[in-house]
Symmetry: C2
Subunit: 346 residues, 2 copies
């Protein structure tokens, strides 16, 4: 058979099988939606005509599923416990729905399941992937690269510079926002400013710590304690800090959930906020940040908008606000600004 | 070409193209994971050899994706606002992961998007579907039937009896649990027992209302107000009930979120719980049910276990606890028992 020889068409198979063109296409492309007797009939016609579904294979290669995978590199329990993810998913869902794309959320119990996620992404079920909350040494980025699906990351990926330049991601100005928070505390006259970090295998946590250090260069390293972006982690770190540095007069917490845990411990120890200890969070997670006691001063990042922008970049629609750092195409990092929101805690 | 004629194999195409068998298979089955130059090479070999990927097509028809779709027939915002869904997903996720199956959560903005969900299910991306929180007149069950994927429903589907007998579902004893709750209130000497329902286009809400009526037959219809399984709906219904029937002395709320809203309104109106008005919820949603003021007496249903059981029934592993109602195979409805959990509110 040469390149130019006429060959049986999909239409011919459909006519022979007495089914629609769509049914033949569906059988050749997977067949799950077709009743078994029809599948048999189509396959028999394929046999009899010697049909080579070459065009079908070609179209498969480029076919659009109108579906986008979302992978949050956290256990399912954390995905549902942290409102950050719900908010980012809300932005993604709105944008994908506006483009009639199906949001396919791939949930896992943890990192051990990421190889399976890679297989699903490689399996030709989605047109692209949105991936967030990556941790260092997670095999996921490599699996995604091998899967060959277009991907936009939420948050600056933490791998080597070369790869990072090639990756498209949406982030907020974690380092600048952290600097604003700590400068505000210093401006209030606080001198013993502590920091409860997020998990330091995530770039968002590392960048906020860098912003803290930009302002507090040379300060007592005992004023930094590692948290994990959860209220329980904030409680543990706050206790450790108070035990180590009872004279601290301010805390910058890496997110609002962490701050809420810290506030509970400060209250429990009889310390007044902000009189004795001023507290600032990060996220402006509502209603939490308004309902803490006292209401939380925090660094606002546009979480839902970040989700929308990730989806928009993946779908390739007009890139509102997506200015590539160096003017080249395609954009790599898109970094959105943060804002300090003042409430009662600092 | 006859049924028995030798034909070029996948292996022959792989050898001609100088790639692995897996690469050829991936190109023929979709190709998303293969770099374009390799795809071209494989397609050229397919052409040159006149390869008919008939076996590939057959294997596609029966192939396992090791992936299961979960569809919650609610807008994405409600999925993340109601801990019921997180808990049911937890059970599903644990069970699917134990069988190395990928959980594929299909999120939507609402019912208008269900046709797209149907297309995804029909597209050959998953081995089966778990579907819950169905509402009457939702096109989803019909779309799922047409998609032809094995499905287990969470909650008794509300469509006609014939179809229901064919559907496999996992439910809790909503009617029996409601009867237990209302009998407990009557046993406390309460005579004006109100009920705040869930959305009555869902069988869980309709069945709980039926259980209430089993015990309170012939009571004032003004004692029933419709809610929507949310705290805000519980507040609205509680206000309406107090305006209509200021003498009511007990409330059975269709779920714990609804009860939490009702408790807020009772406190706001200066009514003491349980002295003036006894309150019972449904779910035993923790920590909520322990943290309400006062802690909530409620009807416990095993939500996480229901999720696990749905997944187990779909995967066809040993059917713990899945006793078909009439001894026939396959099981249709699997109804798990509920338990009254006494705390301070009744």
């Amino acid at each position: 058979m040469t390149e130019t020889a006429p060959r049986p068409t999909l239409e011919a198979v459909a006519a022979r099988a007495g089914v629609s063109r769509a049914t033949v296409s569906r059988v050749v492309n997977g067949g799950d939606g077709v009743r078994p007797p029809l599948v048999e009939r189509v396959l028999r016609a394929v046999d009899e005509l010697g049909y080579v579904p070459n065009q079908a294979a070609r179209s498969l290669v480029t076919r659009r599923h109108d579906a986008v995978a979302v992978v949050i590199a956290e256990p399912e329990t954390r995905v549902f416990a942290d409102p950050f993810f719900a908010l980012q998913l809300r932005g993604i869902s709105k944008e994908l729905t506006a483009h009639d794309n199906q949001l396919v959320l791939l949930l896992t119990e943890g990192r051990d399941d990421h190889a399976r996620v890679g297989r699903y992404l490689a399996g030709g079920h989605v047109d692209g992937a949105l991936v967030f909350s990556l941790h260092l040494d997670d095999p996921l980025p490599g699996l995604i690269r091998r899967a060959g699906v277009p991907t936009v990351f939420g948050g600056r990926p933490g791998w080597s510079d070369d790869d990072e330049r090639a990756a498209v991601y949406v982030d907020s100005d974690n380092r600048g926002g952290a600097r604003d928070a700590v400068r505000h505390l210093v401006g209030l006259g606080r001198t013993r400013v502590a920091h409860i970090t997020g998990p330091l295998d995530q770039t968002s946590a590392a960048d906020r710590l860098a912003g803290y250090r930009d302002v507090m260069a040379g300060t007592d390293p005992g004023l930094v304690a590692e948290g994990d972006f959860t209220p329980a982690g904030g409680e543990r770190a706050m206790r450790a800090l108070l035990d180590r540095c009872p004279g601290l007069d301010a805390v910058f917490a890496a997110n609002d959930l962490t701050a809420s845990g810290a506030l509970r411990v400060l209250r429990e120890r009889g310390l007044r906020v902000p009189d004795d200890v001023a507290v600032i969070g990060f996220d402006d997670m509502l209603p939490l940040a308004e309902q803490t006691d006292p209401p939380l001063t925090t660094v606002r990042q546009p979480i839902e908008e970040m989700g929308r922008l990730m989806a928009r970049l993946l779908l390739g629609s007009p890139r509102d606000g997506a200015a590539p750092a160096d003017g080249s195409e395609p954009p790599t990092g898109v970094v959105l600004p943060t804002t300090l929101v003042r409430r009662a805690s600092a």
